[in-house]
Symmetry: none
Subunit: 197 residues, 4 copies
């Protein structure tokens, strides 16, 4: 077949070094000064790269940042202590840990900021960060079902979504009468109440 093998285009190939410099600079700026501080001009200057070189790769700030995020390695640990609550506890703790550092905070803020205006952006975040966690959560609930800690009819994904939703919500409108974590725990209890734990 003709295009089975991607033929090398003529001319000088894209510089891998420039790729790296651009992405790393983008992530660095994101962590240090936030999304608003990212501009093609700033990235180019700091990465020691021409503006054209960036425009050739990305046609908007969002594309650039999305790609930078995609390049970050993520590892999800899947706790398995044999007890539903302890597993969940560990999961939340791990999520919390990756959100409290400077980069994580900026990242969440960024997602919230641009989810509405740049859906593609949220898509990347979903695939890369949320979905794996949703699946991990589901696995944990399946194990709990097998141990008959909770009812078999409960929808793990939905519980995860509700939990994520209220975390998001609490981020925008922080609870005033109790701590953030107490609030989330209360929500979790409500969610699992009917499930005969």
């Amino acid at each position: 077949m003709s295009n089975e093998q991607a033929k090398n285009p003529p001319g000088r190939p894209r510089s891998e070094k420039a790729d790296q410099a651009i992405l790393q600079t983008t992530l660095a700026l994101l962590a240090e000064a936030g999304y608003a501080a990212i501009s093609f001009e700033a990235v180019a200057a700091r990465a020691g790269v021409g503006k054209t070189t960036i425009y050739r790769r990305y046609s908007s700030k969002e594309e650039l940042v999305a790609d930078a995020l995609e390049s970050v390695r993520q590892e999800i640990s899947l706790p398995d202590t044999g007890h539903l609550w302890r597993d969940i506890e560990l999961l939340i703790e791990s999520a919390s840990a990756s959100t409290t550092n400077s980069f994580g905070r900026q990242l969440v803020a960024l997602i919230v900021s641009t989810a509405s205006t740049h859906p593609h952006f949220a898509q990347v975040y979903w695939n890369k960060y949320m979905q794996p966690r949703q699946q991990a959560f589901s696995v944990i609930l399946e194990r709990a079902k097998a141990r008959q800690e909770i009812g078999a009819d409960i929808d793990g994904a939905l519980v995860f979504d509700l939990l994520s939703g209220i975390m998001l919500y609490a981020l925008m409108f922080p609870p005033t009468t109790e701590s953030w974590s107490a609030y989330v725990r209360r929500a979790l209890e409500l969610l699992l109440r009917g499930s005969g734990r």
Copy 2:
């Protein structure tokens, strides 16, 4: 008493007309072209007002928009059909209605966009838009408790928050396998399941 009567400050008082022109122009731009299209320059030009006049009142775009939002009249209807589900249905419908028009959409997007970077912003939105609805929701649940449709121990505010949270969440990460409303309904059912409806 000394400061019982607020004394007029010296000098020409702020122009009420300018106040109005600024706020209305801001809201108009928000509805028409979105938050990003709002600039002091644009508002000044369209409102027929000097830039200085705006800067005298607001020191940032966010302050300006926050004040504009605060100036919008909001009315919450409190349905009372005698049936929990029908009441909730009506409430959701009304919320949905005020979100589907151009201005509402821009507004929600804006809140989500800036909640993290400008907490004050979210505060205004909470006081003006969310809290009244939370209270309305609580009233409806109280009535349902009185009719023994649901258990007396359920926390209306928390349910409202969880519901709002998942709506927000679904806005950022739209469900792929089912419709938005079906998804929300499923969540609501899960929430009220343990409550002996």
Copy 3:
């Protein structure tokens, strides 16, 4: 007769104190920071006076400054040593003295700056500063004529004008090969050469 006596206008009379404050502040600013630094705003602020109060008196920056200049007391000394050259020497020295201090320098610069665009301005300067000196110079030359130091047909005013002219000229285009005063002296010699000194 009706208007023989300037009738007091109704209402509050103009404040003498404000008059003074305005003029002095104007002169101070002129000496300190130059003509360009003078603005109605700046004068008002520093004089502790409303902008309106200044606008009521002067309709342009030039009027204001012209009036301020007019308020400065000037004294011309008329040297009479019995020798033409010594008299001229003293006159030049005195003129030079009143030009070398900060205020004098600013003043001359100002006149040069605005002579073309604001003739009225130069008029004030002429009446107040130049004419008296021209007359003093003429008197000195008349005395020299009486002593037969110079010919009777020489036009003192014209010589003064030529001398002033070249001083002005030398101010704009400073001589490069000799000192300012040597240059002026050379000119003076040329001017009086034909006059049998």
Copy 4:
């Protein structure tokens, strides 16, 4: 040799077209509306050029105008009729001609206005406009000396300066009892009196 050949700097070179547009617009504004009407904003708008493009070249209005003046072509005609007075007559006439048009008037006014505050400005004017005329004048006097119309000891440059000076002076303080040209002629006669014409 190393720097014999000026190496091209990296990056896109300055646009010659923009250079021209800026200078011509500056001269046009100067001729039409005077120095005060020149603003970076106005020049940019009318020249169809970004403000930045002008700021990249000039850091002040004065620099800009100085360069614009420097770009104007000037030709000095050197009359040679064989008679001193007729030559001078022609020279003055030519100088007068180039000063009576709109541009010339603005130009002289400008020089006078800013000579004191922006010496560099006067420098350009001197090199470009005055010096050539001073030299032409000297040549004419030299010829007159050769013809023995005037004494050999007369300093042409100084006479020129005195003449220029009184013209300048008469511009600032116009003669009240006689015409401008009669006044200048009288001065010229005084200057050349001792020279046995």
